[in-house]
């Protein structure tokens, strides 16, 4: 598993009264060469017309950035292709492309191309990093204005953030609370204050905070689409899920040792497994009777373990909830909800699956849904990878 995790997320609020956005954000991951490409485009005007322009631009920019083609050539192709606005007689959409590659070590290389969007911000920890992008004049035939691309090669180390936003953010509050709008400096100092207040703030929360602040400066009636995207390079948050007792009693100690040495959150799923861990760690196990639902047995509490649950019933309900992408808030306050919360807050999940057969589950009266542990873990991993883009791994004991 990677020792570095690139957390990318965005937040968006449409212009007041619009049901469709003129800012378009696209994100693709290419797991083969650890490449992530994100594109933000802002189309001329608002509503459907802007959305068409921005979607076209973002999609083209996105596809072209995966090709080896020279970026100025790609930019020319995009601008020549855009349809012309009927009112303004010009074709126009801004874009920012961030091509993010994790090569070796703990550094991430970003190839940033900006055209007419507010310039991106980079934070190294809480400090804002300033740089001068290389300016490339497109000198395109038939251009209605000078077209200058900004090109930068940046290096992001662990703890760095790249913040990209549309002019809806920098112009928020213009003519209302602020004469010239929020401006780049306003966004920069707000983002810096957010990072200072919470150094581990996730990309999702930071993007959301910036967009909400811009929206409130616009007095909750946005004058333009407000979009913000954040890339955060950090150490992965790891979770260990232990389920099922080891095949032979001799391996019990190995299992407990693995739990003890693991750095991250720890979940033990299974009554017998929990009893083994409790006995060998010499930590008492207490059932928490306040946290259960008719479908899911109660959780237990054990010092040193973040969550202790029953095994097969809980895991099968977790698998169903993850497969159906059920929102956490819609679930009852039981072990499944707690399990899913931990999963969602993790980047990498490692499963240790005990292979001992549980005699108690061989009874024909037991419901069919208590299937084979291995199949269930397979379903969980697939759902986590496909629906939540988590990295997972597994070992048997």
């Amino acid at each position: 598993m990677n020792d570095i995790f690139i957390d990318v997320d965005y937040a968006q609020i449409y212009k007041h009264g619009q049901k469709i956005g003129g800012d378009v954000f696209l994100l693709s991951r290419n797991p083969e060469n650890d490449q992530i490409v994100c594109t933000l485009s802002d189309g001329l005007g608002s509503g459907v017309k802007a959305n068409v322009l921005a979607s076209l631009t973002a999609r083209m920019a996105h596809k072209l950035s995966f090709s080896p083609m020279d970026l100025t050539h790609s930019a020319r192709i995009i601008m020549n292709t855009l349809p012309v606005c009927k009112e303004r007689k010009i074709s126009y959409a801004t874009f920012t492309i961030a091509d993010i590659r994790h090569e070796k070590g703990e550094e991430v290389r970003v190839n940033l191309v900006e055209y007419d969007n507010p310039s991106a911000l980079v934070f190294r920890g809480v400090n804002s990093y300033l740089w001068q992008p290389e300016r490339i004049d497109l000198e395109r035939e038939g251009a209605f204005k000078q077209e200058v691309l900004g090109h930068s090669q940046l290096k992001l180390s662990i703890g760095s953030r790249l913040v990209i936003f549309s002019d809806g953010a920098t112009q928020a509050g213009m003519g209302k609370s602020l004469p010239l709008g929020w401006r780049l400096e306003g966004v920069r100092s707000f983002a810096q204050a957010q990072i200072e207040a919470n150094p581990d703030i996730s990309s999702h929360d930071l993007a959301q905070a910036i967009v909400c602040r811009a929206h409130s400066l616009d007095r909750l009636s946005a004058k333009d689409d407000i979009t913000c995207m954040v890339v955060y390079v950090r150490k992965p948050r790891r979770t260990l899920v232990v389920t099922g007792p080891p095949f032979t009693v001799e391996h019990d100690q190995d299992l407990v040792e693995k739990i003890r040495l693991f750095e991250g959150k720890k979940i033990v799923s299974g009554g017998t497994t929990a009893q083994i861990v409790s006995r060998l760690l010499a930590k008492p196990l207490k059932v928490d009777m306040s946290c259960w639902s008719p479908q899911v047995p109660p959780c237990s509490i054990m010092e040193g373990i973040d969550l202790v649950t029953e095994g097969m019933l809980t895991l099968s309900k977790v698998a169903i909830a993850l497969e159906q992408k059920k929102p956490v808030r819609s679930l009852p306050n039981d072990a499944v909800r707690k399990f899913i919360q931990v999963m969602q807050e993790s980047d990498q999940v490692h499963f240790i699956v005990g292979t001992k057969i549980n005699e108690a589950h061989q009874d024909p009266n037991i419901p069919v849904e208590i299937g084979i542990r291995r199949t269930l873990i397979g379903r969980l991993r697939k759902a986590l990878e496909d629906n939540y883009l988590k990295e997972t791994s597994q070992e048997y004991i």
């Binding site: 009554g271 196990l285 928490d288 047995p297 237990s300 029953e310 108690a360 037991i366 419901p367 208590i370």
Partner: protein, 88 residues
């Protein structure tokens, strides 16, 4: 007369017990007589081991009352056994 000892009750919440009626027993606050409830210390336990005993005569769900494990537990049976234990 000395203070009467409270009855220790452990309800198994292991998978086999939970799916065969144990979930109903966890609603003890709703079906037990408050006087009986007041005389008991009820807690959950992850497995009492009854389901794994090949020679067991009774079946899950299991509840341990004052150190003795009882199987085939239902809400009615639990009411009766606890009332006997508390009023004994």
């Amino acid at each position: 007369m000395g203070k009467k000892e409270r009855v220790s009750v452990k309800i198994c919440v292991g998978t086999a017990c939970f799916v065969q009626g144990g979930a109903d027993l966890l609603l003890y606050n709703e079906f037990l007589d408050p006087v009986v409830l007041g005389g008991c210390d009820i807690e959950g336990v992850s497995c009492l081991g009854g389901c794994k005993d090949p020679n067991a005569k009774d079946r899950p769900p299991y509840v341990q009352i004052g150190g003795v494990i009882h199987g085939d537990m239902t809400q009615e049976k639990l009411c009766k056994l606890l009332a006997e234990a508390v009023h004994a």
